[in-house]
Subunit: 207 residues, 2 copies
């Protein structure tokens, strides 16, 4: 059985992965925890500690094998398969999300999109045909969707999220700027530019 791994450690692995991808593209084969730390503005000790949750990766004096560490982290994060996603809300933000080129290369595919606006239902946007939100539950199951992306107005977000969970969705990427409640066992990540801005102003103010 795996040790209990702190969420904050898991949340850092994707950043490691991205730094390793960049190193690989630069032709770097081995990197020390110090070298990786310099790139990520973290201490080498923190990096060694984080990775120690998942096994032994580095070799004394030589550092980490970039390619191997990358593929091991990919496996740990479950990124060695494709994940199917559904988008709920195809307004301007939703269309930008459908159009976003960053998902597919990482194994995340938007294969369904839902709207309540009659004018949009049936139209195809960025290769995805928009479905009636009334068909959400059936369609999510038929298409074996793993992850839902919520891009509806704030006032509708909690209702939509409740429906998604009722339909069996266990991972939600939420763009609506609200404080959402989800039951245990459901993962929710908020993409929230205001929260990000608000934690920078603290430092701007002090400077």
């Amino acid at each position: 059985m795996q040790r209990q791994i702190p969420e904050v450690v898991v949340s850092r692995l994707p950043m490691y992965l991205r730094a390793l991808a960049l190193l690989k593209s630069e032709g770097v084969e081995f990197i020390s925890s110090k070298g990786l730390g310099d790139r990520l503005r973290m201490t080498p000790a923190q990096i060694r500690k984080d990775l120690s949750f998942f096994g032994k990766f580095g070799r004394q004096g030589r550092g980490y094998n970039v390619g191997r560490l990358r593929s091991e982290l990919q496996q740990i994060l479950g990124l060695d398969k494709n994940w199917l996603m559904a988008l709920v809300g195809v307004g301007r933000l939703g269309r930008a999300i459908l159009d976003y080129k960053g998902f597919a290369p990482e194994g995340f595919k938007i294969v369904a999109a839902f709207e309540s606006e009659p004018d949009l239902i049936g139209k195809t946007v960025s290769g995805v045909q928009i479905e009636d939100i009334a068909d959400l539950e059936t369609s999510l199951k038929d298409k074996k969707i793993d992850i839902a992306i919520v891009a509806v107005p704030s006032s509708d977000a909690q209702v939509v999220i409740d429906k998604l969970i009722k339909s069996g969705i266990r991972a939600i990427l939420n763009y609506a700027p609200i404080c959402v409640r989800v039951p245990r066992g459901v993962r929710l990540q908020a993409i929230d530019p205001v929260l990000a801005l608000q934690s920078m102003t603290f430092y701007l103010k002090r400077d």
Copy 2:
């Protein structure tokens, strides 16, 4: 002088603030650290510890005064003033950002937008006139911009960010999915849906 406050503590304050706003809108006047913790899925001890960095807020037995804690946190985060922002990159994502209704009510105003695409320069989008990116440095200074939002393609992001820093910008919200390097003293927050997705798949895989 203020104690050194861990970044992760600062990054949680905006979530507290949002939960407090919601409580206020529900008419709740006092909340215990347990009550706040239940909303945020955090332990009461963690909440008390986080807040203790900034002073004494709660009162034994009565909990926190929702309105007062909220306005104190707003002040701590520098949210008692308006912040002026500039957007760089007015593609589909940039237009969704310009159109985003969540910034202004929180005191964040996009007052400038820059593009390199000649067809877009001079046009007005969501009330903001698009300027030539060649005028970036002068315009940022003229308009006393505090924060820049980067929504250019990945391949241009590092160059744009370097220019922004050279122009004196100290806080950047980056939507380009790259591992960006910024010097000390510059704050950068990434809005990166792929990183968010990648830390959820870890749990999906295990369930």
